[in-house]
């Protein structure tokens, strides 16, 4: 996952490098992913999330649709 200056930059980069255009979303949503996925990583009680739990995190951030499905 990369950060770009704008969606136009994503489109140009994908076209030039023949990289599949995936999902574009806001930097705020990317920060939300980092926060909600990793805030507990140093806890002794941490465990891997189930696919359903992961999808719940994505959905709470507005990241829905087939691209974000794990199950």
């Amino acid at each position: 996952m990369l950060a770009f200056r704008s969606e136009a930059h994503v489109e140009r980069w994908c076209a030039q490098r023949r990289i599949e255009h995936g999902e574009v979303f806001s930097l705020e949503q990317a920060w939300g992913l980092g926060r909600d996925w990793y805030a507990d990583r140093l806890s002794p009680d941490w465990r891997r999330r189930t696919p359903e739990e992961a999808e719940s995190i994505f959905a709470a951030l507005g990241l829905t649709g087939d691209f974000w499905r794990l199950s």
Partner: protein, 147 residues
Amino acid sequence: MTGIDNDVRLRIYEAFLADGRPPTHADTAAALGIAPDDASDAYSRLAEQRVIVLAPGTLTIWMANPLSASPTAFWVETPRGGYWGNCIWDAFGVVAMLGDSGTVKTSCPDCGEPMELRVAGGELEPTEGVAHFAVPARHWWENIGYT
């Protein structure tokens, strides 16, 4: 996660954050007072469980997500220190794992323009830009280095 695997997992992060590089399995064995073979077995199990990523064919830690042992395009400055994140998601994850404030330094892959993304008090400061994920979620672990 069993006791020894969790102990090894926590020691990996502790050492990685303190030293800025991941510990070898021998380092971890010495720190925990366990046999090197037990530490190497734990490294392998943690990799199988996708808790850490080993460099192919080795016991050398490549990623203890969100941290990267190799330089990447995502440098993260936090009150605890500076670290490499694996991607923009993980770079923000480094900030979140260590508190609620930090700065991610990266650049636009298209034009090379530097980008500084600052988080303060748990909030991302408004910054022009977007995130792009090329690989659908169900395929992330088929090639985690690319993802």
